[in-house]
Amino acid sequence: MVDNNKESTSTVRVKSMIEKNRQKQSFRSIGEKAVPNLLLGIAMISILTTIGIVFVLISETFEFFNRVSIVEFFTGTVLRPLSQDPKFGILPLINGTIISSVIAMVVAGPIGMMTAIYLSEYASDKARRVLKPVLELLAGIPTIVYGFFAFTFVTPFLRQFIPEMSATNILAPGLVMGVMIIPMIASLSEDAMNSVPNAMREGALALGSTKLEVTFKVIIPAAFSGIVAAFVLGISRAVGETMIVAIASGSSKNFTFDITQSMQTMTAYVVEVAGGDASRGSTIYYSLYAVAMTLFVFTLLMNILARYIARRFREEY
């Protein structure tokens, strides 16, 4: 079954050809050396830009705090950047940011979680194949569209039930932001639940558990860190969301807790100021960096926290 003639003829040829090629194969060593260096160069660009981001933010923020005391910035409840007598208290923005994020999470948390449970534990393959792309679609819609939706549809709709609600308010964008975040929470939590080995499910089912018990007593505890990480990332996303609030929550710098009123978030402040007066050198210009830096640090901390939780509390199975 082995054609020996054929093989022996080519044996001599191939072996020696390879041998010969190997001698003169400097071209390979060039590729071997050049490519990693080229790639290193490219990687350095990426890495340097990331360092650049931090550097720009820090240096300009520093300039801002030369002009406005850091204490006033972080404790002031009055934000009047454009006034003759400007005040740069960031608390109204932080307040607006927290409130909108809380509203978003109140929507996205439970619904996202239940969606994850359904997709991971209950849905048939077919249902999952239909529902997941729809959720992905929801996640892929540009936020400007959500902003438009919040402003032209959700607010007018809500005002039928809450007549005293303002035309720009934090509630509608918060709710819409929640819808936007559902897919993220759902899919990350589902990933976490999916990565609990089937052996756990089988073990529990074999003891006579219902699916519900398996989910709540075994799967969710086992995937808990992943689920918490999903929530933290969801919050971070809500905090960083810009266009929905910029369009639908107006630009009042009220320090209030009334969710039917207009409030401004950190992100919306940046849009307002940069869209209007962003001429270099003014204090208000530098305030952009201070706010952006606050946002950056906040989301960074959230991301690190999420990562830490996911790693530190990862169950070993």
Binding site: L82, S83, A167, G250, S252, S262, E272, G276, D277, S279
Partner: protein, 298 residues
Amino acid sequence: ACGGDDTSSDSGTETEELSGSVVVDGSGTVYPLMARIAEEYMVTEEENVSVEVARSGTSAGFKKFLAEDGTDFNDASRHIKEEEQQMADDLGIEVKELKVALDGLTFVLHPDNDWATELTEQQVIDIFKADSDIEKWSDINPDFPDEDINTYGPNENHGTYEFFYETILEEQDLKADANLQQDYSTLVTLVSEDVNAIGFFGFGYYVNNQDQLQAVNVDFGEGPVEPSLDTIAEDGDYAPFTRPVFTYLNVNMAKEKPQVKDYAVYLMENVNTFAGETGFAPLPEEEVQALVDELKGL
């Protein structure tokens, strides 16, 4: 964009075909008028010149105008301020003020508001002023609803704010809870959906939204005056709240870039044509013609 073929050589007025860009920023009040003219210019006159119109507000616009490589025009709903003029001098920018039209500062209400449609000048001022006795509608007249008055207006980026603050309030502070916004559209929506609202902005934003808003007829001492193109015109009855609106030209740019000068001339030749349709009262022809001649001479 498409460049190449010589489309304007037959017009005879120019020796060379113009291209390049003209950058306009500034007043949101004047924006509709300026955008309208810019579009007309690009569509009918100079295809290859790009006139970009932004509207970050008068004050914000001046900051972009008074900078190296700044904008070519700055639309303004108030006069240039002394410190701004000073800055221009420091930078060596020669600034030319072009008065383009008249605008009436209009106070607007929710359409269902049937009590405050006529107010005196003083009442209007008291409603917005920081330390006044008027907090509720009923503070003006016990027959009015016992509800808080919600005040709205453009933020400090805007000339409209400054005109109101400097000329009408005579530099007394606005109420601290006044809802000041960057975008006029937001203001329109806010007022149109708040029965207890009163807001102010240029006449143009009112005429375009008459179905959602009603204007306050202001009594300057001789009976209530409704703001309209006629009353806000020069020497009209609405005069106390009428203000000229401008665009400021960077003359250095006009000298440097032929398209800027050309556009400036076109602009002044056509302002009166488009003023009415965008909600402004036109200026006397002679006044405009004088500016056209000055510009041609640059």
